[in-house]
Symmetry: C2
Subunit: 596 residues, 2 copies
């Protein structure tokens, strides 16, 4: 290293073992205090903090120290010594030592920062985003980005070890009418034409399989111009994977191995393999969700048999109309206040449920419920038995169309687990959800549409039903779920033209329409496409879960707000007319006001 | 692996040692030929090619083989056996064996490809680009992308080993008036505003240094909307690096280490360290270029002393006007035909030289030259001596302004080396070029402008000349050059406000103008910026050189043409009016025709 900015140790790594050593450090002043004629400085670099002490004998360097304020950049030469027992600071890694400085150089000054550079601040996030370079100095933010680096490094090591090639695909792509809204890029050289930023490298990775690359991956930036929710960003990163000559199990095994490798390497955690697997039907039935949180049980229980034949017309009518009745058993919550129960009615209403019924199991086993009167003793016993209800339990019922029951009761299950404090934040519960329905019915267009995308392969045993009963056809699709969050998902793709044609037929596309819509992709598949499949993991969300942060903005160096603004650089911004002229476009700001 | 697409070996890896083994292979039919009642198939996968032979006893599988054509995707089960001595094929790695198939399954058919899937084809590049997925199947293209994967993996390993963190920076950035033309992305949520795709992560990486990350790198996609030359793409990839608490030598040492590690790991080549270094002045003086090709010598020789005082007015006048006279000595080219010499006059004219003089040294040491008559014996001897000219040599002179001489004679040096076949294509000659001028004079604006960017640090010893003689101030900037190609470059950045102000003053920017132009960046630097510097390598070009390919398009999976088109997907394309309306823009295609 250069003499001028020499440093031979990092602040956070000094221990008692270094006592007596002469060290050179560089870093930022985290804190300075004067005490007993001495100056104490908490010096911070990427590795951590250590205490530097300097006394007036240091002459010029002491004068430098007197000028120093928070966030000054300094260089310190000194000797490591053990602290006296009573001054040991058990809160920091280097709390047993300090560095007695004989030389202190100020490398740069600093204005007073607009917020404290320390963990756990409750500064307004917009201010943190405006001064992102300062927010990024906080140790917890640095830990997030260091974790992110580690995770991507481990991913690449694993993929490389397993014969995958990282291949870059274009960012300036073709706009397609499918999927979410594209970000567009006007072309200067091709007047009137536009590129689209990729929503994913899906087409390119399949073409790489056609190209014979067999095992591809990429940690790829993707873009979606959608209205942003709390955990969405206009640009996001995914680990994108595709393999040839594989079936579902091959992809899932390979990806389980990846996740186990990454969690072990980055967090030291052992992931149990093979991971649990459940079908989409099971997940929806038991948890009311295709991304079930398995850190707690509280399954959705089918109560149709138990309530059938009672006098409760609401349930009877719904069942007669093809609806169902399900319940969750909230163990030990029988004493829930009435006010809170009313709140739960509002809660399930958000998910479209027209009502919520409850039964509180009394200490003597009797049932307290506004609807108890409609059920005889036998029915009540059957209900308790079916729900595994014991004294002290609370049963919550939703009766509706199956999809509504799943959605409302699935959400209520999570909500009640939170209220009952059933969720162990240190637990990592992985599961695969498989066999997604191939199609869903689009009521507006009165036709079947592909649930994933129309290149997803149907399950072999369901092929005969493609014409006769598309709603019963399942797909070779799979999602990996962690603690109720979808980490990633993928599918085996169709590689044979006859199957592809049957799918197009099922969703009502003629050959010409398919050709027009998927043109060069369809053409490519005629020149020897191998069987293939893949998966993509959402990297931002995965790191967020691993770092136990509440927002993906905490694991992205320079994120955007919900308005897709960069508060720091003030992007997007106005541009010169000349720039627009060169791109053959002009602003059309009044269009929406004209209500055309 | 799944049973259905089982394979337990790869085609290109089978050797005599595998003889007798039962193997399962999957791949593409490279060639099929029928001979002596048997069918021979060259089966290709990513690892290479091996010969499969199947005879009529195989029954159903033989029938399958009869149906197979080029580029069919098949699965083969069979036994490896050594070939007879006379059928060994020394041209392929697996030429000593073949696989006798007992089972052959067709996994997918293929239409006849529009060109041969083999190395060294001379197919029109546009056709190759249209069917890129087929072109990518050719073994030499696969080798390029495999090399690219290896290189980026090695880079990341080295950077990680040296404590660098890979941190992703945004793709949706702010448009700045500096530098090349931006690609713009209209914002839907912020009507009338635009993002710009990054030309480089320069500002973000410097902010990460302010943020205390100390060692950053990223393999980053960058964008420039410039008219494309043969070796340019609208999007390109660079290895971007930044370090804190460093001086020039630290960055250069670290990056030499990287290049040595990568070349050793990917090509098995040992790079000599430390690399040669020369200043920009030396490079321009001796090679007429800031990216000298050192695979051959032929330096530019200053002839001013040798020609002074002669009767040749052309030289005398140019020297009197502050110009110079330089020559190169093309060893052994004295017998160059006159016609070719005339061509060289045209060649240097491209670079702005008004003329070219020559001297052919005869076997007896005498000088044959149209201008010989203007020089007496003593001058001619001095010229020969200065140029190290011996019988058989050709001296080529350019006299002009120093910059013109450098450009013209520098280009001629390369041209003559090519003609004389002096360039050893297997040689790797690295050099650093350092101490670039800080400023260059802009004749249009009548002011000094920064040669790199205005955050580049001037050399410490030149600081006093910032006000008095900016033209003599050199920068802490460095380029790494390989075989006459700039691999990458960077600089130490200014971290202190007083120096930054002096630079702004030198280029005639007021404090307010600087603030407006570099706003949040200037602000960030007031909160404790560490000394820092970095560098960026152009990845596409580096891989191209390593793979010895003539074009970067050969090392990019899905490149664009010189019109920035993707021939395969036909991007850019027309988009819906609705998409434009949502982005608050409309086309303005007639603007240029209206000549506004």
């Amino acid at each position: 290293m250069s003499e001028k900015f020499k440093r031979d140790h990092h602040c956070g790594t000094l221990t008692k073992a270094d006592s007596g050593k002469e060290v050179a450090l560089c870093g930022w002043v985290s804190k300075r205090r004067d005490h007993g004629g001495l100056i104490f400085i908490d010096l911070r670099d990427r590795s951590g903090i250590c205490q530097v002490v300097i006394d007036p004998d240091a002459g010029e360097s002491f004068k430098n120290a007197e000028a120093v304020r928070s966030e000054y950049v300094i260089q310190v030469f000194g000797k490591v010594r053990e602290r006296d027992a009573e001054t040991v600071n058990p809160n920091i890694a280097t709390g047993e030592i300090e560095v007695v400085a004989h030389t202190l150089n100020v490398l740069n000054g600093a204005k007073t920062p607009p917020f404290y550079i320390q963990d756990g601040i409750d500064t307004d996030e917009n201010l943190r985003l405006k001064y992102r370079y300062l927010d990024l100095r906080r140790p917890e933010m640095q830990a997030n980005l260091i974790l992110r680096h580690k995770v991507t490094k481990l991913m690449r090591d694993y993929m490389d070890n397993n014969g995958f090639l990282e291949i870059e695909t274009p960012m300036l792509c073709k706009s397609t009418p499918e999927g979410a809204r594209d970000y567009l890029v006007p072309s200067r050289v091709n007047p009137g034409k536009f590129y689209a930023l990729p929503q994913s490298p899906q087409i390119f990775k399949q073409l790489l399989m056609v190209g014979g690359y067999e095992r591809y991956f990429q940690i790829a930036r993707c873009f979606r111009d959608e209205d942003l929710r709390a955990d969405r960003q206009p640009e996001f990163t995914q680990l994108d994977v595709e393999m040839s000559f594989v079936e579902m199990d091959d992809v899932m095994d390979m990806m389980e191995g990846l996740i186990a490798y990454v969690f072990k390497g980055a967090l030291g955690v052992d992931i149990q393999r093979p991971m649990q697997r459940m079908t989409w039907d099971e997940a929806m039935d038991k948890y009311g969700s295709d991304k079930p949180d398995l850190r707690f049980d509280m399954p959705l229980i089918n109560m149709v048999d138990a309530v059938s034949g009672s006098d409760f017309k609401v349930f009877n009518n719904i069942i007669a109309d093809g609806g169902i009745v399900k319940a969750i058993n909230v163990k030990g919550d029988a004493n829930i206040p009435r006010r809170e129960l009313d709140g739960l009615v509002d809660f399930v209403a958000i998910y479209g449920a027209k009502g919520l019924a409850w039964m509180q199991i009394q200490p003597d086993g009797s049932v307290k419920s506004p609807i108890a009167k409609f059920f005889d003793e036998a029915h009540l016993n059957k209900i308790k038995e079916t729900a595994g209800a014991e004294p002290g339990d609370l049963l919550l019922f939703v009766a509706d169309k199956p999809a509504t029951v799943a959605q409302a009761l699935g959400a209520l299950r999570i909500e009640m687990a939170k209220r009952m404090n059933l969720i162990d934040k240190d637990k990592l519960c992985f599961t695969w959800v498989t066999r997604f329905p191939m199609f869903e019915w689009n009521e507006d267009e009165k036709r079947w549409v592909a649930m994933h995308h129309p290149f997803t392969a149907p399950c072999d045993e369901d092929l005969p039903m493609l014409q006769t009963n598309p709603g019963k056809v399942y797909a070779k699709a799979y999602d990996m779920v962690l603690n109720g969050v979808e980490l990633g998902g993928g599918s085996i793709r169709i590689h044979r033209r006859d199957v592809q044609n049957a799918i197009f037929e099922a969703i009502g596309l003629t050959d010409e329409e398919a050709q027009e819509k998927f043109g060069f992709m369809m053409q490519a598949f005629e020149y020897g496409a191998p069987p293939h499949g893949g998966l993509a993991f959402g990297l931002d969300r995965m790191i967020m879960l691993m770092a136990k942060r509440p927002s993906i903005r905490d694991v992205i160096a320079f994120p955007k707000t919900q308005n897709a603004n960069d508060m720091m650089s003030e992007a997007p911004n106005l541009v010169d007319d000349k720039q627009l002229r060169e791109l053959h476009i002009r602003l059309s700001l009044l269009a929406k006001d004209k209500k055309q």
